[in-house]
Symmetry: C2
Subunit: 202 residues, 2 copies
């Protein structure tokens, strides 16, 4: 071996030892409250990736879309057509709130979605429940943040993962969550005049 | 309508008008160079979500895993078993680099993955090609960042999307990319002694 290779291998061996030591202390399992927030892309896509991960492992799961348009209809159709046995899928609402301009109807829709979400979370058969774009519903006061947190603390079965997505996650949710990722926008093609494209945005 | 509802509706109507105006200027389509980086979770999951979005739209796509373990075997098995007609899937490498401790073999594996990636990107039938964890291979000098950027600029078909994931994206890649998202770690359950769990991490 060259000196360079030897140095590299020694460094990697050290990293592996350090990593193995750390991982050995991570022994507990629990159902997590997971939040994807921030202005960047990937909040719903990453959550949807986890739902497909569950489907891949044949773990029963469910999706409630609080705002139509958070996930694409392509994703919904794929789940409904191929995986409806494993993953329940509920789309509530009529489109983004600034497209409907009817606060009382939006509130009613969001409340119906939240009632559906509670039922799905209470059912311990569901190993993961995704509340897509619920943060938007909370932000517009269609759903109460304190009520969501209180419900999750009191009624979420210990092993169920609940994933909540959307910009501007409420401070109560961040506080209650086990895993929070902020998707930060570094560069976006809209700024260069590129429109939303199939496969990327929807 | 109450005053509150009227105010809300007026605000939403204004938002919708502003948004419609902005969206009307976004008319171009192009194949994007997309980078998911940062220390947070969701880089591979969000990329994988986009691959499933393509599959949902019946758009031909491909995945090259530069580091085994970036995506879970569950995800790979699901694609291989159900969607191999739409999405090619190649796993290269033998595990995380700190588990192999063999620089020359790692370099060989990464170079083989990069050669496969070039073939897949050159083929205009592929509408999206995901290079999962290529940033790690670049970081360890297994693959050259300048070469990757030069190849994408010269040979990527104009309508093909290429997604590159992994921490510590090279500055050349950030510069060349159309869309960059940094997944920032806000809170992680490992810190509370929780181990990697099925459906969440793999």
């Amino acid at each position: 071996m060259t000196d360079d290779t030897e140095r590299h291998n020694a460094k990697m061996a050290k990293k592996k030892a350090a990593r193995d030591k750390i991982m050995a202390t991570k022994t507990d399992e629990k159902g997590l409250i997971i939040v994807h927030t921030g202005k960047g892309k990937g909040k719903s896509s990453a959550a949807f990736g986890m739902i497909f991960r569950c489907i891949a492992h044949d773990m029963q799961c469910a999706v409630v879309q609080f705002i139509k348009g958070g996930m694409s209809t392509g994703e919904r159709d794929l789940i409904l057509s191929k995986f409806s046995d494993t993953c329940a899928f509920h789309t509530m609402g009529e489109g983004f709130t600034w497209e409907t301009q009817d606060k009382s109807r939006d509130t009613e829709m969001a409340q119906a979605a939240w009632a559906k979400a509670r039922d799905l979370i209470r059912d311990p058969a569901n190993k993961m429940v995704l509340l897509d774009e619920i943060n938007i519903a909370i932000r517009y006061d269609y759903v109460d943040a304190a009520e969501v947190v209180a419900f999750l603390r009191a009624e979420k079965p210990p092993m169920t993962h609940v994933v909540l997505t959307g910009r501007n996650a409420h401070a109560y949710l961040i506080e209650a969550a086990d895993l929070v990722t902020e998707m930060e926008l570094v560069k976006h093609p809209f700024r260069a005049g590129i429109k939303a494209q199939i496969g990327v945005e929807y």
